[in-house]
Structure formats: C-alpha cells, structure tokens
C-alpha cells in the first residue's frame, strides 16, 4: 500500500527531477500532470527503474526520433557541429533519462537508504501494454514542454511490496551540489 502522502511525494520528486534533468543547453522545462496519454504518438521509450525493498518505481520517457527531438538533444553542440547519428541521439536520450532518474533516486535516498536504480534502456512504446502486469498501485502521467516548443511525455508507475509511507516537505529542497568535486 502506498499512502496518499507518499504518492504525493513520488509525484513531487519526479516532477523536480524532470525539471532539473531535462534541460539541454539551458532550455526552459515546464512539467505538468495529465490524466491520460491517449494522444501520445511517440514510438520509443527510455525506461529506468528505482527500487527498494518496499517498492519498484518505473520511470518512462516517451520520445520520437524526429528532427525536432534530435535538434533539442543537440542544442549544446557547437555551431557547425554535424547532426547526431542515431547511436548518438539514442545515447543522449538515455543519458538524459539517467540524469533524471539519478536525481529521483538521490531524493528518495533519505527515506529509503537502500534504494538503487537501473541503467537506462530504450525499447518500443508497444511494450507499455505489459506495464499493467506489474500491478502498480500508483500511475502518474506528465506533459513536458522543452524550450517552449517541443512536447514530450513521461509516466511514473510504482508497484509496492509493503507499506510505503514518506513525506516530502515542499519547503525543503534537496541539497546535492551537482557537478562539484567532493574530495576524500
């Protein structure tokens, strides 16, 4: 069972992770919850899992390998740089998913010390029809607008193996200094 405040916590943490992990080249990222994904036409998904003894969370980012999406993920390239190859494009999307889930995983760490995450996998969207078999008790969908012009979608599914209860205080922001070198 996932308590209502834990559901709100998963929701809040994933939205924050999408906002921090999706920008490329300083782009603005807007994220909002949506009820259904009926019109999503994306063909591919990048999927990662974040798991503890009590739950498995599956984060899914839907995308299309079209020109607009390729251009977004190549925004940080120098002027005149060649277009991304297919391998480079898929790797960038996968790494973006990795950074998003990395933040989600870190933010869940204080509540679930043994939480861990998978590496990203890119698969066909058709595989989503099997997600129901996981028996998830929490499913949330999100619309993500990148740089004000490119819209992608994401889904969070959480399957629980026991009582999942935690509270994310909206007034407390995560205190991880990304990019800084911590010397030992």
């Amino acid at each position: 069972m996932i308590t209502d405040r834990a559901k709100a916590g998963f929701d809040r943490l994933l939205v924050a992770s999408l906002k921090s992990g999706m920008p490329v080249g300083g782009a603005r990222v807007d994220v909002e919850s949506v009820k259904e994904l009926g019109k999503v036409k994306e063909k591919k998904i990048v999927i990662l899992t974040v798991s503890s003894y009590l739950f498995r969370a599956i984060a899914i980012l839907y995308f299309r390998p079209d020109a607009a999406t390729r251009a977004y993920f190549n925004r940080s390239a120098e002027e005149g740089a060649p277009a991304l190859t297919d391998d480079e494009f898929y790797d960038r999307v996968a790494e973006c998913g990795n950074v998003v889930c990395g933040a989600f995983n870190r933010d869940l760490g204080p509540f679930f010390p043994h939480v861990g995450m998978s590496t990203p996998n890119i698969i066909d969207k058709d595989c989503m029809q099997y997600v129901d078999l996981l028996g998830c008790s929490l499913t949330r969908h999100y619309r993500i607008v990148l740089a004000g012009e490119l819209t992608l979608y994401a889904t969070l599914c959480v399957a629980d193996y026991g009582l999942v209860d935690f509270h994310v205080d909206p007034a407390v922001e995560a205190a991880v200094d990304t990019g800084e070198l911590e010397m030992f």
Binding site: A94, V99, C101, G102, G179, L181, E182, M183
Partner: protein, 122 residues
C-alpha cells in the same frame, strides 16, 4: 601519452567530458566500461587520473577501482567517480577502495578543471 582516462558506458558523457578536458589542454583516453578501463590502465600504468561512472555493464566503476588497487597493484593513480549516485554506502565503498573524489552528474567542467590539473601534475 594520455594523462586522464574517462570511463563511461554513455558515449554522450565520454564525448562531453573528454572533449572538455582536451579543449583545456589535457591528454585524454576513454573506455566504455570498467573492464575496458582496467585493461587500458594495465596497458598504460602511467595514467595520472581515472574519471569513472559507477553503474556500467560488464564491470561497474567501484569494482574497477578495487581491481586497480588490488589486481593491478596501482596505488598511485587518482580515481574520481562521476555518477548520478550519491549514496553514503557507495561512497564508503569507494573510500575503502582508495578513490580520491566524487562528482554527482551532470558534469560541470569549469567546477573541476583546476583540481583535475593538480591531480595530473601531482
């Protein structure tokens, strides 16, 4: 001869980190996972710094660090992890393996360049 070995299964990260360091005057080699990193360090034991991801196929970065110190007997190369992970348990394992530092992705080159240069000159 390379000074720094960048180990990551993501070509995006390898290109980003290696490209930044090369543009700033450092000699850089790359490896696609811990197994590849270990074999490249075996071939070039004079490398000064290894910058490695943690979660990778075939061999993860922490196992690679343990093998660099144990199997290769290389006690001098500096090892810095570059990862989305921030778990105290993983950091403790890294410290026990003799790693020098930890960076939470995403990589911000300007924040670490001066320290990397000191580590390769040491």
């Amino acid at each position: 001869m390379a000074q720094i070995l960048v180990v990551d299964d993501s070509s995006t990260v390898r290109d980003e980190v290696a490209g930044f360091l090369k543009r700033n005057g450092l000699d850089v080699a790359t490896a696609v996972d811990g197994k590849d990193g270990l074999s490249k360090l075996r071939l070039d034991p004079k490398l000064k710094l290894v910058v490695s991801d943690v979660n990778m196929p075939n061999m993860d970065g922490l196992t690679m660090a343990e093998k660099i110190r144990g199997e290769l007997g290389n006690k001098t190369v500096n090892i810095v992890m570059l990862t989305t992970e921030n778990s105290p348990i993983m950091k403790e394992r890294g410290k026990a393996a003799g790693i020098k530092g930890w960076i939470v992705k995403p990589f911000k080159g300007d924040a670490v360049l001066a320290t990397f240069k000191k580590l390769v000159e040491a």
